[in-house]
């Protein structure tokens, strides 16, 4: 159980001199050379991330659609649209109290076949919850045979298209759409706030694809830059902004909840009964005034009560510290944060901070 897993790119990362860390039970690259350079390469050019630690499962069976409409807080019915490509949907999976078990992406591969991409650190819990609720005629297939790479940045399309010789196909692929080409699954998705793709390929091809894309000029990037990129893009990280004790209303994820039909989903009752009384906190962005760096766990003081920094770091694009804060629902504007016993000024804002290479919010 406690064994640390390795992706099929482990030796590749070592060869490239990566500093490794244990992330969600996996040996993953934190940084290859400079985290800030890796960050900028994704904002300005392109970078490649090993995200093979994430769990991929396929659910197969005639009633999979019905099951997922029960399991997920967003509605997979949105994926039924006639389309030549597969469609992807971001959703939370909730416990019966409305707490977030995991956040995930679901792809509709066909009428009776769906694919889920799950967080590494939550994989065991996710599987347990899915098995506890699944219909007997649905098969769960663990796709341990696949490695997953994220190729992100404004030049991702050109490099990936050039490499697989599919420039036109990639160019016409819309956001949150995917297709399969021989053994390669390509989706226009990501976690960086830039254009980009996440691809799933047979494990045995992972090293070659990585090396080849490096040779095309796509820079190796570690989870360190992935974290600052997602933070600037205003994207939550499980374990920081989300866990089983907070619901989507408190995590800036109300937009992922689909109450538009009579559909029942796990956690719905709790959210409906408490949505007025329980939502006392909200998740917002925070910008630190002056020097210093916001970190997870720092206490935030607002005139409506205390809150907490859930994620904080240095934004390489904005050259200042930004973060997320969970604060009382009616808190806004200027407030204070405690950094090593000093009260410092922060401003609460609505993320994202940066999208497609451009700063959207800044305060001086």
């Amino acid at each position: 159980m406690d064994k640390i897993n390795k992706t099929y790119l482990y030796s590749q990362h070592q060869k490239l001199g990566a500093k490794m860390l244990n992330f969600g039970g996996w040996h993953m690259p934190l940084v290859y050379s400079s985290q800030i350079e890796e960050h900028h390469s994704v904002r300005n050019n392109s970078g490649i991330f090993d995200v093979s630690h994430m769990g991929i499962i396929d659910l197969i069976g005639d009633r999979t659609n019905d099951f997922l409409r029960l399991l997920l807080a967003n509605d997979v019915k949105k994926l039924d649209k006639l389309n030549k490509d597969f469609l992807a949907l971001y959703s939370c999976m909730l416990n019966l109290d409305g707490g977030i078990i995991d956040d995930l992406i679901v792809y509709r591969l066909s009428k009776d076949r769906y694919r889920l991409v799950l967080n590494a650190s939550r994989f065991d819990r996710d599987l347990q919850w899915i098995k506890q609720n699944i219909f007997d005629d649905i098969e769960i297939v663990l796709r341990n045979d696949l490695s997953m790479l994220a190729i992100q940045g404004p030049e991702a399309e050109v490099h990936l298209g050039g490499y697989f010789n599919i420039n036109d196909r990639l160019h016409s692929l819309r956001k949150f759409n995917a297709f399969e080409l021989d053994e390669v699954f390509i989706a226009r998705t990501g976690y960086t706030g830039e254009d980009g793709f996440e691809i799933m390929i047979p494990n045995e091809n992972a090293q070659k694809v990585w090396t080849d894309l490096n040779n095309y000029g796509v820079k190796s990037c570690g989870l360190g830059s992935r974290d600052t990129l997602r933070l600037e893009a205003g994207l939550n990280l499980y374990g920081q902004e989300m866990d089983e004790t907070v619901n989507p209303f408190e995590s800036a994820l109300a937009w992922t909840l689909d109450f538009s039909s009579e559909r029942n989903f796990l956690g719905k009752k709790a959210l409906q009964s408490s949505s007025n009384s329980v939502v006392k906190r909200k998740l917002v962005g925070a910008i630190l005034e002056g020097q210093g760096v916001l970190r997870n766990g720092y206490t935030v003081y607002t005139d409506k009560g205390e809150g907490e920094i859930t994620s904080g770091s240095f934004s390489p694009t904005m050259s200042r510290s930004i973060g997320f804060a969970r604060v009382p629902s009616d808190a806004e504007g200027k407030c204070k944060v405690s950094i090593r016993n000093n009260k410092r000024d922060i401003v609460l804002v609505k993320p994202p901070f940066v999208r497609n290479g451009k700063i959207i919010i800044d305060r001086n």
């Binding site: 934190l30 400079s34 360190g224 760096v293 970190r295 510290s321």
Partner: protein, 129 residues
């Protein structure tokens, strides 16, 4: 792997101390420390003229991923800080034993210097991991 100049003294907390010709001591963090922290983005320096006992936190170096305390290695008075670091914290990454120095101090006594590690002992400390 990391650079450990022979003419410096070291602490277990990965700081280096250089005895200057004027009897002052210059302090910084080691190559190993900057490597482990990664890209530095902010450095909080001690106040000049402050008198501190050895081992007291007097400075903080923050990288993208973590904040790390810096302790004053010898009891004494801070006489100068490296103001270049407020705009260019990356100097510590680029030149930890040179332009990336943190502060200079006037020690109350030189006795405490004997407790510091020499380059061989510091190298051993790193080997032990």
């Amino acid at each position: 792997m990391s650079d450990i100049p022979e003419d410096l003294k070291y602490t277990k907390d990965h700081e280096w101390i250089k005895t200057e010709e004027d009897g002052l001591f210059t302090v910084g963090i080691t190559d190993h420390a900057q490597e482990a922290l990664g890209d530095l983005v902010f450095i909080e320096l001690p106040e000049v003229e402050s008198n501190l006992p050895s081992g007291q936190t007097c400075s903080v170096v923050e990288s993208v991923k973590a904040a790390s305390d810096v302790y004053i290695p010898l009891s004494g008075k801070i006489v100068e800080v490296n103001n270049l670091l407020s705009d260019s914290p990356e100097l510590v990454n680029q030149d930890p034993y040179g332009d990336g120095w943190l502060f200079r101090l006037k020690a109350s006594s030189s006795v405490e210097l004997d407790d510091m590690l020499d380059s061989d002992s510091y190298a051993e400390l790193l080997d032990e991991g």
